[in-house]
């Protein structure tokens, strides 16, 4: 049976190492949003030895481009985007201190290996449940790349954001294991 674990950001080795695929995590604290275009700019900054717009040590990045906030709400619908598009950039960020990624969908072998090497974690949020997920977001503020519109980097404060552990530090992969468990001969 899967466990339910509460975690606070920033994440440490002690938070991440005990996590196993299938664990349900309720995440609270500060996380940062970034998609394809923002990742490219973060890597460009690193290439030029420039500081990043947020502290990457122990940070968690959420792959999301939220819908605009309706009046009276901190954010619009905010479910995960497909993660593989960030695969070329993720290992560099993990090497720099990134501890957690939130998205949906399979990661590359390089990312899975980097997760083990750097003791990081890949969480899945439920794709297409953006209205529900928005309920866990307390505040949202653009901190970089406003010109990217929905792809700008936002600082989100989250409370009990519901997540599943997809890839853990021992090489587990919930998408592969889950599929194997329920596959039937055709």
């Amino acid at each position: 049976m899967s466990r339910e674990i509460r975690l606070e950001t920033p994440l440490t080795d002690a938070d991440v190492i005990p996590l196993r695929i299938g664990d349900r995590v309720l995440l609270s604290g500060i996380i940062y949003t970034a998609r394809d275009a923002a990742h490219k700019r973060l890597i460009d900054l690193m290439d030029n030895n420039q500081p990043l717009p947020f502290d990457i040590q122990g940070a968690v990045i959420y792959y999301v481009g939220p819908a605009p906030a309706p009046p009276g709400k901190p954010i619009g619908s905010a479910g995960p985007t497909t993660s593989y598009r960030m695969d070329p950039f993720a290992p560099r960020l993990m090497a720099a201190g990134l501890k957690g990624m939130i998205g949906k969908g399979n990661r590359s072998q390089e990312v899975i290996e980097a997760i083990q090497k750097h003791k990081a974690i890949y969480f899945g949020a439920i794709g297409g449940a953006g209205a529900l997920i928005a309920k866990s977001i307390v505040s949202s503020e653009i901190i970089a790349y406003e010109d990217l519109g929905p792809e700008a980097i936002r600082r989100l404060e989250v409370r009990d954001l519901p997540l599943f552990v997809i890839n853990d530090t021992v090489g587990g992969d919930l998408y592969q294991e889950g599929m194997k468990r329920y596959a039937q001969a055709p």
């Binding site: 309706p70 619908s77 519109g149 329920y182």
Partner: protein, 279 residues
């Protein structure tokens, strides 16, 4: 001859963009409930419950079901006895998308292919126009998200590959898509025509309400067979493992060239968003 001011088109398209994004179809909700009964995975059942809860929140709070409110794909069937007044029909559709996405707090997702600069108003819409008999206008808006669209393909099979080749390609496509397109998916299939017509047929197939039968008995049987096989792959709701990988398989077919066997697979996410109006 019936006159319709294009402002009516703009208003209708705007309304349909908003409704399609916040009001999950009754056929989809019904399918979630039905599939929950046959889902063996506790996590899979839980994901289906979360999707039902998400739909309820979206409807009550007038929030989009998903943050990816899509490119606006607009199907418009124009009765040949209709005369549009007051401007360009196509521009009226784009304006409807512009207004709907702004008023509905929907995400604008169109961008320049090279620079990736966001165009800021979600235009241009993808418009499919058909001239039909009569004096009515039927408009369907299908907001299409990037995650599921990215998993879609067109392939020109060799005729010798036949129906077995078609089945194998579709099953492989769903398997390779895995958790990316937000399962449980609707699989739209277009067979025949030309390269671009196959893709159009596959997209059109995604619009058929879930739970309705294909009028062609041969295609109906093929849809059932494919659905059963897809739901043995094990991907499950959210890709976390389970029986419910697809809610439905819909096939549209037409004749093709003696040298070709075009096949298109258009994957649609679990929300299967679309809304229709008749003027």
């Amino acid at each position: 001859m019936r006159e319709i001011p294009v402002s009516e088109i703009t208003e209708t398209v705007a309304r349909l963009c908003i409704e399609a994004n916040i009001d999950l179809g009754a056929d989809v909700e019904e399918a979630f409930r039905r599939m929950k009964e046959t889902e063996d995975s506790p996590t899979g059942k839980e994901v289906l419950d979360l999707l039902l809860k998400n739909a309820q929140i979206a409807r009550e709070e007038r929030m989009p079901i998903c943050q990816d409110t899509g490119l606006a794909v607009v199907f418009i069937d124009v009765g040949q006895d209709v005369h549009f007044t007051g401007g360009s029909l196509e521009e009226a559709i784009h304006e409807g998308v512009r207004q709907g996405y702004e008023k509905g707090y929907l995400r604008k997702s169109t961008c320049h292919p090279f620079t990736r600069k966001n165009l800021g108003d979600n235009t241009p819409a993808i418009i499919h126009t058909r001239i039909v008999p009569g004096d009515k206008v039927r408009i369907v808006v299908e907001p299409k998200g990037g995650g599921s669209e990215n998993m879609s393909r067109v392939v020109m099979l060799a005729p010798a590959e036949g129906i077995e080749g078609i089945k194998a390609y579709i099953l492989q496509r769903v398997k390779e898509s895995g958790s990316n397109p937000c399962p449980p998916i609707v699989v739209g299939v277009g067979i025949g025509g030309t390269f671009e017509r196959a893709a159009f047929l596959a997209k059109k197939a995604t619009l058929r309400p879930i739970g309705t039968k294909n009028p062609d008995p041969e295609l109906d049987a093929l849809e059932q067979e494919l659905l059963e096989k897809i739901n043995k792959i094990g991907i499950g709701p959210g890709g976390l493992g389970g029986r419910t990988t697809a809610l439905s398989v819909h096939i549209e077919m037409m004749p093709c060239h003696i040298a070709s066997l075009p096949l298109a697979v258009n994957i649609q996410c679990h929300a299967g968003r679309h809304k229709e109006a008749i003027l």
